[in-house]
Symmetry: C2
Subunit: 129 residues, 2 copies
DNA sequence: ATTAGTAGTTACCTAAAGGTTAGCGAGTAA
DNA sequence: TTACTCGCTAACCTTTAGGTAACTACTAAT
């Protein structure tokens, strides 16, 4: 009587698998890459000036920092504030939206920490004896 | 009398800022890029064959899937199982270590979901009136 | 006047990631 | 036999990311 004797090898799961993949893909599209999260982290710790960021975020060049800041501004994570005072100072500030990344940042940093430890131990095991 | 009138603009925070940056950087190094997490997600949902993965992970090519699987194996996230039976079937399986990524995956998917909604609303606002 | 710092931009170039096409060797189905 | 699937691989090419160096415009100190 049955059209198909589907014992549920996927099928009913593939739907939410696609959704999960799509949402992770969306996230990676917005905050993927080497630098965006790093810049946001550095800013959350009080680094708001161009040169500060350049020094804090190890290995980033002025050109890349400049273009990443523009993208982050365009996507609503930060704003550029130019003081009208004298001398003119330029500050970048996190917008509230960047706080939504808290969970992502803490998950990644926790995992990164344990991963580094694991790699270190793997290395030790290889070189013991 | 004071050498520097440092009122603690950063300084005591820059230390753990560097640590945070380093750990996130480590994580991105291991699981960054467009595909690794996606493949792991698809595998966690029961897609263990090459062609299944190719179909599930939207937009990935055979060449890239093949090389990503090799890297994932090298880094201890998965293993390749070649059945000795007849016909020979090849299956990729998640290793326990890939489960440590649970938190990262769920943080990213949650954020990705809300981000997509936000973008959609921003777009609507722009086009209303 | 020179030097140095801030906040970039521009032009040029390299490297890495990734896409496209083709095909191979095996099995399987008609 | 033909045709199709699976699990790739190789060759080739394009795109993107990112590095380097030079330069601008301004300020500030020496």
């Amino acid at each position: 009587m049955k059209k198909k004797e589907v014992i549920n090898t996927k099928g009913e799961f593939s739907e939410d698998c696609h959704k999960l993949l799509a949402s992770v893909s969306d996230a990676l599209y917005a905050i993927g890459g080497k630098w965006k999260l790093m810049i946001i982290i550095a800013m959350a710790r009080g680094n708001n000036r161009f040169t500060e960021l350049q020094r804090m975020v190890n290995g980033i060049s002025a050109r890349v920092l400049s273009s990443e800041l523009k993208e982050l501004e365009l996507n609503g994570f930060i704003i550029k504030k130019v003081s009208v005072g004298y001398p003119v100072t330029i500050e970048y500030q996190l917008l509230p939206y960047s706080e939504t990344l808290q969970g992502v940042v803490s998950a990644l940093s926790q995992w990164g920490t344990q991963h580094r430890d694991k790699i270190k131990n793997d290395y030790k095991k290889d070189n013991s004896l």
